[in-house]
């Protein structure tokens, strides 16, 4: 058993708006082990990004606030961590990659300069040394001719190159945890495959722990070791990827519908499947299980009681009445 590096216990991040309290993240639990990739999957607006920002303490307050729970990193609780220490942790220990590298890079500096600044921000390095490190990093993420690429401004690079530069920048201080927030959404399929390769390599060569946020089940099977499925601010299922994809008997109905939505190249199909209904408003959530209005297998109890965690096999937990004791009885 590998050591746990980041563990999140009952995390609650709410946004206090004029229209009411938005429970963007509502009591989630998971942990990430060393050199492991945990995928966080779910539809838009289910709280994936807010989870990531909560870990780094970057939720805008007001209106947002972490109202409860713990984020334990290395025996430090990041929720109550003083801002100065938090700044040291960001980038150096836990780094984050954003969805759109175009807007996540500062347009007025060359990427080389940005990486150099990042390195010098966290360590005592001379400018020249940092420059060499930056070029090595660019090489590591597979940028051809890194010497020249370092002198380019973000707008001079293609989308895939920018995303690589962004990854290089987040790697600059050798973080132990890397949070990737949909890093492949803004790039095309071939680049997507290459970027996934980079992550795979990083996991092996640097023993980096990845929190990979995505809405694509396909990517999960490519890169994930374990997967947590989120719905309306809660985790509905958490399991090893191999278990989840090969053993559909104990799947949460939401997970199965997500998988069904994937286009299958071996079958002829007129239209893509979709889950009926929309994600509920986080201010006005349904009673009981949040998914019951859209669930094909909904039962009477689903409307009344919140489903308890059910451990179906080792390391596979489902929050669904289908598998709970109360649900079974019926």
């Amino acid at each position: 058993m590998k050591e746990t590096i980041l563990s999140i216990k009952n995390l609650k991040t709410y946004f206090f708006t004029r229209r009411g309290i938005v429970r963007a993240v509502d009591g989630i639990n998971f942990d990430i082990k060393k050199g492991e990739c945990l995928c966080l999957v779910g539809e838009s607006g289910c709280g994936k990004t807010v989870t990531a920002l909560s870990i780094l303490g970057l939720v805008d307050r007001p209106p947002g606030r972490i109202v409860g729970g713990e984020i334990n990193y290395d025996s430090i609780n990041l929720v109550s961590c003083p801002p100065a220490r938090m700044r040291q942790i960001r980038g150096r220990e836990i780094a984050m990659i954003f969805q759109d590298a175009q807007s996540a890079l500062n347009p007025v500096f060359t990427i080389g300069d940005q990486i150099v600044e990042q390195i010098r921000l966290h360590s005592e390095t001379s400018r020249r040394q940092a420059r060499e490190m930056a070029i090595d990093l660019l090489k590591e993420v597979g940028i051809p001719a890194p010497q020249e690429a370092a002198n380019y401004y973000p707008h001079q690079l293609s989308g895939g190159m920018r995303q690589r530069a962004m990854i290089a920048m987040s790697l600059s201080c050798d973080p132990r945890v890397l949070i990737a927030d949909e890093p492949t959404t803004a790039v095309d399929v071939t680049i997507k495959a290459q970027i996934l390769d980079i992550f795979q390599r990083l996991k092996e060569s640097r023993q980096i722990s990845l929190l990979f946020i995505t809405h694509e089940m396909g990517l999960v099977s490519e890169i994930g070791d374990r997967v947590a499925v989120m719905y309306a601010g809660k985790i509905v299922e958490i399991a090893r990827v191999s278990e989840l994809l090969t053993n559909p008997i104990f799947q949460h109905p939401y997970t199965s519908s997500l998988i069904k939505c994937l286009p299958d190249i071996t079958q002829e199909r007129e239209r893509l499947e979709s889950i009926p209904g929309t994600v509920p408003s986080l201010i006005d959530l349904p009673s009981g299980c949040f998914f019951h209005p859209r669930c094909a297998k909904a039962m009477a109890i689903c409307r009344e009681k919140e489903p308890p965690p059910v451990s179906v096999t080792k390391g596979h937990t489902v929050f669904c009445h289908l598998y709970s004791a109360q649900g079974m009885k019926k």
């Binding site: 040291q88 500096f109 966290h122």
Partner: protein, 360 residues
């Protein structure tokens, strides 16, 4: 050592220490080391050399790109030419012209070269009005005023004063306005509210009255005039910079910088300010003429620094003899007009050049 500060900031600190020690020397050792304005010169010039020249040199390619765009605007180039000419005139001119304050009543009201003027003079000896013809000659190319002061010398001296006031006061106003605008927008919430309400109060305050009051209390000194214009003129800049920063701060790269561990101060200085620099340059060129006119107005009503000859002062002298010696008012008036126009053309040209949407 260089980790936190870097060479540039180190140079800035050394400069600040040097200036600080000279001020102390000035105050405690009785002898005046340098004139008050020289402090402003050294401070702003130092900041300019440290923070403007190296980045411009580092991005020569971009500079030449923007120069190409500015060049397509003829008026802007002409304006730039006029400003450069004015700067040259202000620096070199005083070495070749007479003392602008030298009074000579034998040579009063001489018209510019190429003009002749008939004037009737009451002759004391005969007790009659006689008509005299005055013709301009090359010793006073622009003629003289009613005290026989050389107009060209006064104009050249005035160019120096106007440029000094314009550049220094704008420098102070921009530095303040940028800082307040960026900080206000970035921190948001209460800080934003307080800073912006303070800006509103400053805006509603009639700054010209304040200027008159301060000049009345502390005496008319060019350094004080520059300081007051600078310390009151930042409000518009602050608002513009704030609105620009408001849209910048929601951009992902600010969040990315925070996610990678940058502090607030660092984000303001290395991520926000460089991104509004084009706006700052445009505001600078467009606010210099306002400052120049403000100083001229102050001199015109007689509250300027009496030790220096400025355009406003010449204008004031000329306005009293408008019926006999029209050129005394026309010369500084034209110079003011052309200078303001030149700066406005350059500002417009720069704004178009920096605007990525304009198809230049």
């Amino acid at each position: 050592m260089t980790k936190r500060f870097g060479m540039r900031n180190l140079a800035l600190i050394v400069l600040a220490l040097m200036l600080g020690s000279t001020v102390l020397l000035d105050i405690f050792v009785i002898e005046t080391v340098v004139e008050p304005l020289v402090y402003l010169y050294i401070a702003l010039g130092g900041i300019f050399i440290i923070y403007v020249i190296p980045p411009l040199y580092a991005s020569r390619r971009l500079v030449s790109y923007y120069w190409q765009r500015v060049k397509r605007n003829r008026l802007a180039v002409a304006g730039l030419g006029f400003i450069l000419f004015l700067i040259l005139l202000a620096i070199v001119g005083p070495f070749f012209t007479a003392d602008p304050t030298a009074v000579s009543f034998e040579e009063k009201n001489i018209p510019p070269v190429g003009f002749t003027l008939k004037e009737s003079i009451y002759e004391l000896e005969t007790g009659q009005f006689i008509t005299r013809t005055a013709t301009g000659y090359w010793q006073h190319p622009l003629g003289t005023d009613n005290k026989g002061r050389d107009l060209l010398a006064m104009i050249i001296s005035g160019a120096g004063v106007s440029l000094q006031v314009g550049l220094l006061a704008t420098g102070i106003a921009l530095a303040l306005g940028t800082l307040i605008g960026v900080v206000s927008a970035y921190l948001g919430g209460k800080t934003d509210n307080i800073l912006m309400r303070f800006t509103d109060i400053m805006m509603t305050f009639p700054f010209f009255l304040l200027l008159v009051l301060i000049v009345f209390i502390f005496g008319a000194n060019l350094a004080i005039i520059v300081l007051v214009i600078g310390l009151t003129g930042w409000t518009g800049t602050a608002r513009l910079i704030r609105s620009e920063t408001l849209s910048l701060r929601t951009r992902d790269f600010i969040m990315a910088a925070r996610a990678l561990g940058a502090s607030d101060g660092r984000i303001v200085l290395t991520h926000l300010v460089p991104n509004v620099i084009s706006l700052i340059i445009v505001i600078a060129t467009l606010s210099i003429p306002g400052v120049i006119v403000a100083e001229a107005a102050l001199s015109f009503i007689g509250l300027g620094d009496p030790a220096v000859t400025s355009w406003g002062m010449v204008l004031r002298a000329g306005q009293q003899t408008l019926d006999t010696a029209w050129w005394v008012a026309v010369a500084p008036g034209m110079m003011l007009f052309l200078t303001v126009l030149a700066f406005n053309f350059v500002g417009d040209g720069l704004r178009d050049a920096f605007d990525p949407r304009s198809s230049l």
